[in-house]
């Protein structure tokens, strides 16, 4: 997904965050205090959201991972298949929506794209943080 689609995804995601956390967080939030759900100001630092590279398994990764964290985190990893298997299993334990039949394809995608030789990740320049409004 590149160009307009990526932009739409970024907008949808940013809107979801602005509306009160990730979709998973909102679904989970039913039993939480209103103050925790009303996360009016959810700061992100930069104005760019990265995405997964095209390839078999991208749709599974998009659906499973981006609920809780951006694609930056997987994209900067340099893990072998054993490590990716452990990561995916941990994330499934923690609530990532991955069908049992999709697990192998997800591990294969992540291992192929972000294996030990992956050096493609570059941090995004972000503006310095603004000073908080004084509460004194």
């Amino acid at each position: 997904m590149k160009g307009p689609l990526a932009l739409l995804a970024a907008i949808a995601l940013a809107s979801a965050l602005a509306a009160g956390g990730s979709p998973a967080a909102r679904a989970e939030g039913a039993h939480r205090r209103p103050a925790d759900r009303a996360r009016a100001a959810l700061p992100i630092l930069g104005t760019r959201l990265s995405e997964y590279p095209a390839g078999d398994g991208k749709a599974i990764a998009d659906a499973a991972c981006l609920q809780c964290h951006s694609a930056d985190i997987p994209r900067q990893q340099r893990l072998n298949e054993k490590q990716w298997t452990a990561s995916v299993e941990k994330m499934i334990r923690w609530g990532a929506a991955v069908k049992e039949t999709d697990k192998a394809a997800l591990v294969a995608y992540l291992s192929r794209e972000f294996g030990p030789s992956n050096t493609g990740f570059v941090p995004t320049d972000a503006a310095p943080l603004a000073a908080p409004v004084s509460s004194h």
Binding site: T124, A127, P128
Partner: protein
């Protein structure tokens, strides 16, 4: 790198971003990022949760400015209403407390300058690679923290002799089935050094740094510095849970790199390791002309005793000059007047020794989660004849 820029921001959205960005139009923001003045910036390693490190060359002052201080969040950060926020002190105490921010600020206040470093700073430098945020050098900073001593809070609550640990709780909540971020700290450490801080470098604590108050644990890794702090509970035993029993653990003895280590063969990460980095260096140098090399050094020990520089791969070392400013667990600035003797590529190394005699090692000890990287730092500088 594939990335999507968001050029559509309306005013409301921009104000939302503006909680952490500049109070200007999106066009101006882009201009700032893209201009030469963009030297002042953070390196965002994760869009959400927001994680960003400071470029090493900007860590060149004794106090790290708030706007350049690294940011680390496990999850989408919470925002806490300072008006309704309370801090509970309970557990093994005679009189549990529930304090408002005004109550907290009415107590005797202290300020301490000390280093905050993410336990995983340098994770991206380990080989073989390990999972997690691939921090390089900049998940560290030195700030002046102001607030109330944990010792005074515990005394006011009448802490019992049975209390050996303090369980700490923040207001942020994990998504899905992710376990909550609970930590505990030995009570002696908190009585000795701990602060509940609501100010950072003379400003109210920023939301991304845990407003209205966070824990400050001088000399210990950042995972102990609980953000959005809401409760301190004195306990007989350590806290249990994923972030005590599985994460933030370090091998008791070094093992082969890349090999798994059993949890029982690991202990919680606590004190920082002795470490120095080069933040100031010339882009290029000339034989016979003096250039300044400089940086910072810190440790989990209260002070740094020595910083040395090597030009020959660590065979011979020369003492750097330590800056006179030193406070317990703050970093120590250092400089070294370097006069290159040969043309070509020069590699400069630095290493620190702390006040307990521990010396920064050539290689960091590989560990399964990539904590506390502290290998000698090397920079390469071209030298003209």
């Amino acid at each position: 790198m594939v990335s999507a820029k968001i050029p559509w921001m309306d005013r409301r959205r921009f104000l939302w971003l503006g909680a952490t960005a500049a109070a200007a139009s999106p066009a101006m923001l882009s201009a700032v990022i893209d201009s030469a003045a963009a030297r002042r910036r953070l390196l965002q390693v994760n869009g959400y949760p927001p994680d960003a490190e400071t470029p090493l060359e900007l860590l060149d002052s004794y106090i790290t400015p708030n706007d350049l201080f690294f940011v680390r969040n496990h999850w989408i950060p919470t925002t806490v209403d300072a008006k309704t926020w309370t801090l509970t002190v309970d557990g093994e105490v005679e009189t549990p407390l529930r304090l408002s921010l005004a109550d907290l600020r009415a107590m005797p206040r202290v300020s301490r300058t000390c280093v905050l470093q993410c336990a995983g700073n340098g994770r991206g430098l380990f080989s073989p690679p390990v999972a997690g945020v691939q921090w390089k050098y900049g998940a560290v900073g030195n700030a002046r923290w102001t607030g109330v001593r944990v010792k005074d809070l515990l005394a006011r609550a009448g802490v019992k002799p049975s209390a050996l640990h303090v369980h700490t709780f923040g207001a942020d909540l994990p998504p899905g089935k992710v376990p909550p971020f609970h930590r505990s700290i030995e009570i002696e450490k908190l009585i000795e050094d701990g602060i509940v801080a609501d100010e950072m470098n003379g400003e109210p604590l920023a939301p991304l740094h845990g407003a209205p108050a966070r824990l400050v644990v001088p000399g210990w890794a950042g995972d102990h510095w609980m953000k959005w702090l809401v409760r301190l509970s004195a306990g007989v035993a350590p806290q249990s849970g994923f972030y005590m029993d599985t994460a933030y653990r370090y091998p008791k003895a070094p093992g082969p790199p890349g090999e798994p280590v059993k949890p029982e063969d690991m202990a919680p990460v606590t004190e920082l390791f002795v470490k120095s980095n080069i933040t100031t260096r010339p882009a290029r140098a000339v034989i016979g002309r003096v250039s300044e090399i400089g940086g910072f050094a810190f440790s989990g020990a209260p002070d740094v005793a020595r910083v040395e520089v090597s030009e020959d791969g660590g065979v011979r070392w020369s003492d750097a000059r330590l800056d006179s400013r030193h406070e317990p667990f703050a970093w120590r600035r250092w400089t070294y007047p370097w006069k290159p003797a040969r043309a070509g590529e020069a590699t400069i190394l630095c290493r620190a020794t702390d006040s307990r005699g521990r010396v920064q090692p050539r290689e960091a000890v590989w560990n399964p989660s990539g904590y506390l990287h502290n290998a000698w730092h090397a920079v390469t500088i071209p030298v003209a004849g």
